[in-house]
Symmetry: C2
Subunit: 377 residues, 2 copies
């Protein structure tokens, strides 16, 4: 739901074109919920979810660390005033000159998932700490991860041994259970795998200390999701189960879970029409689509709640589409979206839960449309 | 293939990061090929394919008209010095205030596909010419069109009658056979439908004069495609077949066919790795991906030719992925891409046929990465 602050902001300001409004109070509440749910874990906010300076500044002041995907994101995090010790270069795919640039900025914690990446870091960030990402199956996630990041646990053992041999500090294991993960038990198998890697490396004289549990914490779209408290409890139980009394340091990297429900996109109905007199579905065209920030509707993966001033009246299924001349710019078609029959051209719609992964996905100028505007209040 | 001019440009300039280089000589050749293949059709370049000012300027000087998707694109076209009579507002989804803005700029040709859009135009661009887009099935197209644009032919009759009744000039019919259409006969069914609409409206006292045959002309990726000449011949035969001696005015709207093969993206191999010792496929990560301009790899629809300095040696299948921390940022995985075994980190790769639908698709700053740079030579 749009917070009162967002509702008031939109009522007080006439903004031409689609825009995202993010409520910092909600971000702060989310940070506190994570802090409370996992009091012993360090929070590394996934900057890529929404790098708005106001959000980074707030999170820095609350004590957050930052998970960065690029040198540009590292610089954004440093711009808040935090030291490089509060930054992780979490992308497993890095140009060596970017590793060097991060090292020059003082960053000393890097993600890897293969020996090739370890070698880059050994050359260009000597002495740095590295954690190795292992593959998990991501079952239960709405936005499934492919095998793009990570290696199998047995390979992680060799990767971290190689890191130690090259003078790096082999520090730990990371995993990612899949974005928008709604099964609180999803972390258990991965934590078990981590424990196995810890044991195997211990035998080689390498003592790991860190488990980076990644992100995956969901935001509430149309379906209810477990609370941060429920995640925290499940994760803590798994850590105890697998590590006993020798609990490792832990990191979590919420992105969507930190900012997703803090943002609302205001958009406009550009056209409501039918393709034939007998068409069952109306087509509703908005002034924002897949290339204006709603990339996560790809394959209809994420289904955002949509509010209109006509809510409460009778609804009918609609195909929902964006404003560009691209036929792929359709948001929901396979599963049409029920919207009020009274909805009409010029109506404002609020697309909720859009604080994460919208502004930066937005295309530069596809069809001549401006990137998504953003207001952080 | 990269033209000699592009090869020379890349050899002479050290460019950091991925970039697109477009050769204007190839664009000119393509324009001339369309001109020769369909000498009686007006060419309306689809600006959305690549709105680089140098391309628009060249095409304006060659006599091209412009198919625009937004007011911003209309302004880009006007900036070349052409008059508004050479511009079509081809998006069937328009805010009424954008219709008014286009009208104020002198544009008088608009696409519609429903009575609702006709009413906007009647109010905000009185007296304008409108053509109605009809649905085709797009069979044979590599980038299939959904039903997003157009209405069934029987509805088009009502739409254009309504236009006439509201004081607009009901001018014609448009269709789009699907992007990257490789079946030269695909135009025939649509031209037949157009003829039916012409006849039905003639009975209502409305004489249509225009058939806008849209785009769909392919660029050569990995497979051979028919020549412009072959398209021209097939289309001309269909026009004669359906319209006899009363040939209508015709418009074509090439976008991809005009600039696709004129552009090459230079990228860099950031990482080559495996996920396990027994992995059959290597993973090759580039510094450009789905969110850096290669959006048309969505569902692996468009398969670009990739050249490397290692070509000629033994190849093996690779999963090809982009540089962001997004697991959806994978270019080819279902059908792995054969690349030289010798390919290694730091190698340059050339992604060919990327002159269309790349720069503007590029995300603003996803993961902190800059939008795709572009050089037009």
């Amino acid at each position: 739901m749009a917070s009162q602050r967002i509702t008031d902001f939109l009522a007080a300001n006439t903004i031409e074109g689609p825009c995202l409004v993010v409520d910092l109070d909600v971000v702060q509440d989310n940070f506190c919920a994570f802090r409370k749910a996992l009091p012993d874990s360090a929070i590394f906010y996934a900057v890529k979810a929404n790098p708005a300076p106001e959000i980074l500044k707030l999170l820095a002041s609350l004590g957050s660390n930052f998970d960065c995907a690029s040198v540009a994101e590292i610089k954004m995090a440093l711009a808040t005033g935090v030291g490089p010790d509060r930054i992780s270069y979490g992308n497993t795919v890095k140009k060596e000159r970017d590793v060097a640039a991060a090292h020059a900025l003082g960053v000393s914690l890097f993600a890897v998932d293969c020996v090739e990446e370890v070698e880059k870091i050994a050359r260009s960030a000597p002495g740095a700490r590295v954690f190795c990402r292992v593959l998990t199956d991501g079952e239960g996630a709405e936005w499934p991860l492919s095998r793009k990041f990570g290696c199998v646990p047995s390979m992680a053992i060799d990767v971290l041994t190689h890191a130690r041999d090259l003078g790096l500090r082999a520090t730990g294991i990371s995993f990612h259970v899949g974005s928008q993960q709604t099964d609180t038990n999803a972390w258990d198998a991965a934590i078990g795998d981590a424990r196995q890697v810890f044991e195997s490396l211990e035998k080689r004289g390498i003592t790991l200390t860190l488990v980076n549990m990644g992100g995956g914490f969901p935001t509430r779209y149309l379906k209810d999701v477990p609370t941060a408290q429920a995640y925290g409890q499940a994760i803590f139980e798994s850590l105890k189960k697998h590590f006993g009394n020798r609990l490792p340091e832990t990191i979590i990297e919420p992105g969507r879970g930190m900012v997703g429900d803090a943002g609302v996109i205001k958009a406009e109905v550009v056209l409501v029409s039918k393709k034939s007199d007998t068409d069952e579905n109306r087509w509703v065209y908005l002034d924002i689509g897949k290339f204006g920030g709603l990339a996560e509707t790809m394959d209809e993966a994420i289904r955002y709640p949509i509010r209109t001033r006509r809510d409460g009246g009778e609804t009918a299924p609609c195909v929902l589409a964006g404003p560009t001349c691209d036929s792929a710019d359709v948001l929901y078609e396979k599963t049409p979206y029920p919207l009020p029959i009274a909805l009409t051209i010029g109506d404002e719609v609020l697309i909720e839960g859009t604080g994460a992964y919208t502004t930066t996905y937005s295309s530069v100028a596809f069809n001549g449309f401006e990137p998504l505007a953003s207001y952080v209040i």
